[in-house]
Symmetry: C2
Subunit: 237 residues, 2 copies
DNA sequence: TGTACATCAGTGAACGCGCGTTCACTGATGTAC
DNA sequence: TGTACATCAGTGAACGCGCGTTCACTGATGTAC
């Protein structure tokens, strides 16, 4: 690994060279260990092997660093969701499910980003840049919902995409923050969070009239044998 | 109001008389203002008009106080849910919806309790008393789900009640913690959190096959005129 | 290619602050006789 | 009813700590000529 981290002063010389990045990394480490509240500016500096005054060259204060992390989090989140959605390929429903799984994966694999974004208590609404990034991420879910809504069978009332998107978001967030977190506050569960969410979304979609007995158009993309797909809550015993 | 609070030393004498209670009250105030992380032991003491050493007569440390609050929170939560469920009267479906609303009402009206319970980061699993209280509250939702599952139309596979309960819980928590909080971190929404959750639950229940076009057995309990109930997502325009 | 100089990104010491926690103490309360 | 005494619930001063932030500073880097 050639990427330099945790290097002491001695081998580094006077200038760090990449302090801003190192501080963000350190903050992520700390947040994932101790939560957004447990993270301190001084700790981050120490971790980067730099004096406590050095961070002020790169961030106005602690809050700006956290906002910076949330910002990046939303960007990564957006790109992950975009990738998962893949413009609805190979079919809308299975792509939609993939988005739900990507949501959970992000919450689990990037707990620090996730809590900076959703649990740090920083008022997203009052920071325009952050707000925009947050909305771009949500827009993916919304766009997916839009495409899904267009699929409504004739005769069925077409549900508002905005509402669908908010529903999916709250389901995902609920499962993620109760059961899918990386830290100690996670609650135990008799099944995987992924399965729980998948079943939840499938039942929901069926409630909207998008699925009847089987999932239309999904089979080609699904790698499980057909026999195992009796219903949204797993194999029958 | 005869209940004495915020009284200074002068009018109180040497003994407080009700310090434990006063500290819990103060902590609730502080948590609802600044989040569970922002609350300090010293602050609570100050608020109760008492020296910083006094709290140690009643709580081993800060964490014990927070756990104490979470404990009470779960108890109040349980009693609220029990009341809302009302043993499934007048009918299972409408009672079930009432539980969802009660969930949101609790999160909104008792943000301090709610965040001590779900967002303070304290590991519920490792505190048996707390764990038990938490499970008693969840048991209400589970019992309600059980009754609902028993309603499954003949021919429909009967969904596992545990899973249903977890789904309902995560929906409620998702909506509550994204949109229904009392503090500044709440996100803006084009509709009320209550309506959002109600629609979500209804669509979900329909997905399970419990509702077809209209909600069976609900009309008697519902106070809205029948004409407004075209679908789970509100009045048609 | 060399040199003077501006700019930049760090240092390290210091500050004031509020925290959690401890300690010996003291005033109030309750109880045995 | 009075009194001695144990117990309880507070006090207030002190501690060590780590925090965020500021300051004048200095070493390294880049650039104009």
């Amino acid at each position: 690994m050639s990427w330099r981290k945790d290097q002491g002063r001695a081998e580094r010389g006077y200038h760090h060279g990449n302090l801003k990045e190192a501080l963000l990394q350190a903050a992520l480490d700390l947040i994932s260990k101790k939560g957004p509240a447990g993270f301190t500016f001084a700790d981050a500096a120490r971790m980067a092997g730099v004096s406590p005054a050095a961070p002020y060259r790169h961030f106005r204060d602690r809050d700006e660093l956290i906002a910076s992390i949330a910002q990046r989090g939303f960007e990564q989140f957006e790109s992950l969701l975009t990738q998962a959605w893949d413009d609805g390929r190979p079919d809308t429903v299975s792509a939609f499910e993939r988005v739900g799984k990507a949501y959970l994966a992000f919450a689990r694999e990037e707990p620090a980003f996730y809590s900076a974004m959703f649990e740090s208590g920083l008022p997203v609404d009052s920071n325009p840049t952050l707000m925009a990034a947050s909305e771009r991420a949500f827009a993916i879910i919304r766009a997916a919902a839009e495409r899904l809504a267009a699929l409504a069978p004739p005769g069925t009332p077409r549900p508002p995409a905005m509402m669908m998107a908010l529903h999916i978001w709250s389901m995902s967030h609920g499962v993620a923050s109760l059961f899918g977190r990386g830290d100690a506050a996670r609650r135990k569960l008799p099944m995987s969070p992924e399965d729980l969410l998948e079943a939840e979304v499938l039942i929901y979609l069926r409630g909207l009239g998008f699925l009847t007995d089987r999932r239309p158009g999904t089979d080609a993309a699904d790698d499980k044998p057909a026999g195992e797909k009796a219903g949204p809550w797993g194999k029958p015993k």
